[in-house]
């Protein structure tokens, strides 16, 4: 497999740049990005549309912006929880995915076949279904001897999300290793390096550089997918947004509230996508 390209991400506007560009600074991203401005614009327009609705409904209540500001800290807290879940799942998925990816190129057939099967199984399953599996198949607590360790729902959710991440990381690792020409193995072998030495000192250092962009791409996708945990009853930013809307009970708030949530994710994921893009062009130029 070739490493996943970031073009599958919704990154717009910049034409294909071939030159080695500097990493975009935060201010540059915000200043020059029409996309960002237009999103903000949409946000305020949606506030306006909703305001028009509420005027028609003649509800004597707070302005939309006031309501938003009232709930924003709570939703933002939930958003931070989403980020925490994404980081934990990514860490877990990366560690296990690295093992699985290396397992796939193992010279031992049972190991490589098992790794291949696990990778294909988890890579080709819907994330939400895997999440349900983790939530309902994992026990409520673990008994290790006389000690009982409770398994809270958020922990199971992290595992549930880490499963597809693991499989995707495994493919990124395998693809990265396969992208290094066989002649590198051959010349290292002829210098009497052992297989393990070749992998860790010659192949992986070269492959890591190529794995980083698709790995970051995967992380951005995972972060957006963390809202799935609201479906299995965990209080994340999505759940809290819904709760706030129920509490307010105003139809005109739906659009601005979900827009606010979208903006939070966008502000987090878009810079990652940009960074991925520029890293990718660096790696491409190097070879």
């Amino acid at each position: 497999m070739r490493p996943v390209q970031s073009s599958s991400l919704p990154v717009l506007l910049t034409p294909n740049r071939t030159a080695r560009d500097p990493l975009p600074s935060l201010t540059a991203i915000i200043q020059s990005r029409l996309l960002f401005v237009s999103l903000l614009g949409t946000f305020f327009i949606s506030c306006g549309i909703s305001a028009a609705y509420s005027a028609a409904g003649a509800q004597p209540s707070l302005s939309i912006l006031d309501v938003l500001l009232k709930w924003a800290p709570l939703v933002f807290g939930g958003f931070l929880f989403n980020i925490a879940v994404s980081i934990a799942s990514m860490a877990l998925g990366t560690a296990s995915g690295l093992l699985l990816g290396l397992g796939q190129i193992s010279p031992s057939r049972p190991i490589s076949k098992t790794s291949w099967f696990l990778t294909q199984f988890f890579r080709n399953s819907p994330w939400l279904v895997l999440l349900f599996f983790a939530m309902f198949l994992l026990p409520f607590d673990l008994k290790i001897g006389s000690v009982t360790v409770p398994l809270p729902a958020w922990f199971k959710a992290i595992i549930g999300l880490a499963l597809p991440v693991m499989a995707n990381v495994a493919e990124i690792v395998r693809g990265g290793i396969k992208s290094i020409p066989l002649s590198q193995w051959e010349s290292a072998e002829s210098l009497a390096f052992s297989r393990r030495q070749i992998l860790w000192q010659i192949i992986l250092p070269q492959a890591f550089k190529r794995m980083i962009p698709p790995w970051m791409n995967l992380y951005a996708i995972l972060t957006m997918a963390t809202t799935l945990i609201s479906v299995v009853g965990i209080q994340d930013s999505m759940t809290l947004t819904k709760a706030a809307l129920v509490a307010e009970g105003r139809l005109d708030l739906y659009l601005p509230f979900y827009m606010m949530l979208l903006l939070m994710f966008f502000a987090y994921c878009y810079p990652i996508a940009r960074l991925t893009q520029s890293l990718e062009s660096r790696v491409a130029v190097k070879f």
Binding site: E189, S190, P205
Partner: protein
């Protein structure tokens, strides 16, 4: 005198395609042997068989009394005795020239770092690249990369050096730098086996020349015998095309 490499009745096929048929030759210590012949005649495969990169189908290859065609072959022990240089250099692109050279002695032979680097510097001087010690392979020309590759193999202190069409990808000028390096090595008494299309060079440095075609050794002899008075029709036809 006991020959350093004894190849007897080696056969090799990839699937049903025979690549080497009944190859036998002996190479004495300090000898420089050149293998010439058309592309696809199995020359490169033969070199790869000698250091165990490619397993042979049958026959025997003895390198300093190590049998290569042995399921229990200690490949690492064999490869410490046999250095090989490839057509495409195959340097490690993430390491500098000097790191490329010092890496194997440090990690494979467990030499102390200082000693390995000192030796690497000496070898760089030998291939006349002292000033490029800290350059990455991407910053070196083809000829320079190839000389680093030669130094990298020499760092393992091999008993024999195999050269697989090492100048095929180089232009005439850089070719010379590399060929001079090899000539100096041969003059110092290093046992060399070259697969090459450089007939002039082969006739100059070789002690023995082997002409191969279709996986067989068609004719073998001294450079004068092969280049001046080839007996075989096929050899003469080939040489008339390249000389």
């Amino acid at each position: 005198m006991q020959p350093l490499i004894t190849i007897s009745h080696v056969e090799k096929s990839f699937g049903t395609m025979p690549v080497l048929r009944d190859i036998s030759m002996t190479i004495a210590k300090g000898e420089c042997a050149c293998i010439i012949g058309p592309s696809g005649s199995g020359k490169s495969t033969l070199l790869r068989c000698i250091n165990g990169l490619v397993p042979v189908t049958s026959g025997s290859i003895l390198v300093d009394s190590i049998e290569v065609n042995d399921p229990h072959l200690d490949k690492l022990a064999l490869r410490r005795k046999v250095g090989i240089v490839f057509q495409q250099y195959n340097l490690f692109p993430h390491k500098t020239a000097i790191q490329n050279i010092a890496m194997a002695p440090i990690h494979v032979l467990n030499r102390p770092k200082d000693e390995a680097y000192e030796n690497a510097r000496r070898l760089l001087a030998k291939v006349k690249l002292s000033e490029k010690a800290d350059a990455y392979p991407g910053e070196l020309s083809g000829g320079q990369q190839q000389r680093v590759a030669i130094a990298r193999s020499l760092a393992m202190n091999p008993m024999v050096m195999l050269f697989d069409e090492v100048t095929a990808a180089l232009d005439p000028e850089t070719k010379k730098e590399v060929l001079f390096t090899i000539r100096d090595l041969a003059a110092e008494g290093m046992t060399c086996v070259l697969v090459t299309h450089e007939m002039g060079f082969a006739s100059e440095v070789a002690d023995h020349v082997y002409f191969t075609d279709g996986g067989r050794i068609v004719e073998a002899g001294t450079p004068t015998e092969i280049f001046k008075a080839a007996r075989n029709e096929r050899t003469r036809a080939f040489l008339s095309q390249v000389l």
